[in-house]
Amino acid sequence: MSVPKTTAPRLSARRIEKLGFASLAGLSFLLVVPIIAVIIYIIIKGAPAISWAFLTEMPADGMKAGGIMPAIMGTIYLTLGTAVFSVPLGIAAAVYLSEYAPENRWTRAIRIAIINLAGIPSIVYGLFGLGLFVIFLNLGTSILAASLTLSIMTLPVIITTTEEALRAVPYAFRVVSTSLGTSRWETIRRVVLPQAVPGILTGVILGLERAAGETAPILFTGATFFLPQLPNSPLDATMALPYHLFVISTQVPGMPIQIQYGTVLVLLVFVLSMNIIATIIRSRARARRQW
């Protein structure tokens, strides 16, 4: 008569769990490494180029010397120009989809269109902008045409994030407001939109950040190689950071590498600081939220 010996498992459930978590943590860390590495690399390479003159002066000597001020200003113009068109339109579209649109075939078609719009390669936007704004509407290669092109590209981001922000506002607020003798629009204006503002802002900034960093859409619609002066009107073409970077990296022989990395660093700081602002807005709003 013998009791069968039970062999202890080599790995207890606890240890397997620990191992699993450790490998997941490792993988997540690996994800962060390249981003940090890129940023550090660019800072090390680009920082020596950064100076007050670099940020505020016109390029000189066939762009091999001097600053990148017109490219910085151009990117600011384009970002603001994009905001002018895409923010009101995007928010209006999101309000319609979230608050007014009936669930029918037409609405579904709009949603599918928006999702697809987000997936279109940016160069296609560029060509579309060239066809519609530059040639057909005769706006020429201009800040206006480039802003409109970037707006179309930005719209899906703004629409979807705004819609999400609106839907996150509890439905009960709408019912309560309606019960107090408030029309649908007044309810949206006084209760829903103010509550959704942080979410909307986050979406707007993320959308504009993408617009600020894009090259392809402005390639044929508004960006130019070199300008001896800043643009005078929205109908002038402009220099822009991403396009400038493309030019000085590929089109100018004997370009000092320092200027290239300096330009990258400026663009990166521009885009990252927008990202950080969005994050701050979001976390602050979350702390203040009353629902």
């Binding site: 709408r174 407001s177 019960s179 107090l180 003798g181 029309s183 509550q195 009353q290 629902w291």
Partner: protein
């Protein structure tokens, strides 16, 4: 005098839930009418007919007439905004808007176009006094409404309705999320208010129905089984189903 007369009201939602079948009822003015019955019996739906809040829901079929002061509010040309100012509603959970205490009370008036600070201040104070909340919040009107207790929030919701000077007040299980003390305060407010307003309440239990209902309507599965003065309904119910419900045989 009857404030609200309902004639052959029928209503059905698209998903087949809670409906009302051939309801006829006359609701007296300046009294509390309590709607009694198991949940799903149509009380909440009925309340939402009276301020047309059902417009937000997916109602597929509605027929009959609902006359308030002789006007059929189901008529297509009804001004629902004006109707909702006249027929206010308090919900089952305290649902302050994400605004300050003051703004919650002034909200309806400001939407209605009132701009004068003096008028608003006065209306806010009056409404909060009527809802027996003024003494507790008068020194913190600028605080977020969410910062006060649940019972206070529900009285704030009542004040918010009162600020619009309504004629009818609907309350849908207004104390279901409150403790007994807070519940008692709401009930005492209602007893003071019934002299000026027509109040229709769906109490959240039979005891509350007995306490507050001058008139009691018993709803069962979308039908009005019995309607009469509260005392009569509880002491000598005419319908066997009412008696069984009061004795605790349903829900």
């Amino acid at each position: 005098m009857d404030k609200i007369v309902i004639e052959h009201l029928n209503l059905r939602y698209s998903d087949g839930t809670e409906s009302i079948r051939d309801l006829s009822l006359a609701i007296p003015a300046n009294a509390i009418t309590a709607l009694m019955g198991p949940s799903g019996g149509g009380k909440s739906t009925f309340l939402r007919v009276l301020n047309r809040l059902n417009d937000l829901a997916d109602v597929v079929a509605q027929s009959g007439r609902v006359l308030i002061d002789g006007q059929d509010i189901l008529a297509p040309d009804t001004d629902v905004i004006a109707l909702r100012r006249k027929v206010g509603m308090v919900f089952s959970r305290p649902l302050p808007l994400p605004l300050t205490i003051y703004q919650n009370v002034s909200y309806g008036l400001e939407v209605a176009g009132e701009r004068s600070r003096v008028v608003l201040d006065k209306a806010v104070q009056e409404a909060l006094e009527k809802a027996e909340l003024w003494d507790e919040v008068h020194d913190r009107l600028g605080d977020p409404a969410i910062a006060i207790s649940g019972g206070q929030q529900q009285r704030l919701c009542l004040a918010r309705v009162l600020a619009l000077k309504p004629e009818v007040i609907l309350l849908d299980e207004p104390t279901s999320a409150l403790d007994p003390v807070a519940t008692a305060r709401i009930e005492s407010s209602l007893n003071d208010l019934e002299k000026e307003y027509t109040i229709i309440i769906a109490p959240h239990n039979t005891q509350q129905t007995a306490r507050v209902g001058d008139w009691v309507a018993f709803f069962l599965q979308g039908e009005l089984v019995e309607f009469g003065p509260g005392k009569d309904v509880f002491t000598r119910p005419k319908d066997k189903r009412t008696e069984e419900y009061i004795l605790g045989h349903y829900g």
